[in-house]
């Protein structure tokens, strides 16, 4: 069912754990569907200097959250907001169709963490960042309205 890469991230997840005083925290998912992800980021000069995650979920949920943290560590917020669920799924060598929603959740958890950071630090928000939020993550915006 799962690729070797998915199994690797599942058995040896990267960046698991809590963070002291994260600059931004993202929390997505719900108990009914069975996946809950939290992503914590440390940001300096709009670069994600550290990232950690915790996930309640299946093999794909753990693998996608692990992979998304590996991808964005060291990226600027702008670059990180461009990461889509497809990028995460491709980096993992693909996911079964029925598990693609896990990659969407990983994308949303990251975006939610960045959202949280920018809400706490509005002076760090830029037009470029605002634009990325509008186009890439329109569904998150609609929910918060």
């Amino acid at each position: 069912m799962y690729s070797a890469k998915v199994m690797d991230h599942f058995h040896n997840p990267r960046n698991v754990g809590e963070m002291d005083n994260p600059d931004g925290t993202g929390h997505v998912g719900n108990p009914v569907c069975g996946d809950i992800m939290e992503i914590y980021i440390k940001v300096k000069d709009n670069i994600i200097t550290d990232v950690k995650f915790k996930t309640f979920g299946c093999g794909a949920a753990i693998a996608t959250s692990s992979m998304v943290t590996e991808i964005v560590k060291g990226m600027s917020l702008e670059e990180a907001l461009k990461i889509s669920n497809k990028t995460v799924a491709e980096a993992l060598g693909g996911l079964p169709a029925v598990k693609m929603h896990c990659s969407v959740l990983a994308e949303e958890a990251l975006s939610s963490a960045i959202d949280d950071y920018l809400a706490k630090n509005p002076d760090k928000n830029t037009d470029a960042l605002r634009k990325l939020h509008k186009t890439q993550h329109a569904h998150s915006e609609e929910e918060s309205e």
Partner: protein, 386 residues
Amino acid sequence: MKQIYLDYAATTPADPAVVQAMLPYFHDAFGNPSAIYSYGQEAKNAVEEARAKVARLVGARDDEIVFTGSGTEADNFALKGIAFANKSKGNHIITSSIEHHAVLESCKFLGKMDFKITYLPVDGYGMVDPQDVKKAITGKTILISVMHGNNEIGTIQPVGEISMVAKEAGVYFHTDAVQTVGHIPADVKELGVDLLAMSAHKLYGPKGVGLLYIKKGTIIMPFLNGGAQERGWRASTENVPGIVGFGKAAELAVLETDSEGARITRLRDKLITGIQKNIDHIRLNGHPVQRLPNNVNISVEFVEGEAMCLNLDMSGICISTGSACSSTSLEASHVLLAIGLDPVKAHGSLRFTLGKWTTEAEIDKVLETLPRIVGKLRAMSPLYKN
């Protein structure tokens, strides 16, 4: 790595004696039982011998046994066959909310064909109350279907009491006994049922064959139309090797059920007690006593079922889960939701089902491995605050 198989409720390995018994009927005694010449008669005799063996296991007459292609087919046959044959008498069917999908989906299908279906709730242990069955019966009720033992949580239903309620009301009673025959006593007269479904591959027989017990005099319509096999009850050239294997499995079960039952119950209870002792925040699902001898179903809080199963698989341990993530429908087990588990607990459930080749050493290995896996996943979980 040696595999520890603990998913006997899903399927069982065929007993070597069963496989041996089946082999001649693929190539040597390969005849069609309907043929007049000796190959045919040889095959026919083998089918009838097998029929006598399974009839003996359930306490039925030989001519009350109809071989089918599976337990699922037997359930479909029972529900649709009774429904369509008795439509003039009524259109109401009563069943429970924890039945196997074969029964539930057949009921949903009939629901779209102008039949009214009542899905009875169950208590926190998954038990149907015979009084609830009685209250649900109307002048239009033609069938009650309640399973004997639940495949997920192991709860054994009060089938004897429910059948008395059905008899008093003059309503047919069907039970899905796929998980019970050969494992606990399941005599059709003692149970008092009119129809009973069974599946060979759940008791060390081959896949691809099941049966429906139909009490003499029951008014029912055949499910498959075609040739006159099975005395006109189920068209299809008989699966001779499968049926012979089924007969052999039944023969072994008659000899082994009691001793096996005691052995398995002890191992089951060791597993339950060990898990309760070594892992906190867990819950046993299903009735603690009225429970299949081989079934352990637990909810582990703060972690998800598929993740636990994948980890266990790495250690060679094969089990299943009621988590949504592991089902193609992405819905949590309807049985766990019916007994009132909140979705998070349903997602964190594991089912271990033991069998003939389960050893104490294997149980010990599970008890050694599971706490470590749960610990690892809890450390990763946002729901677990240490």
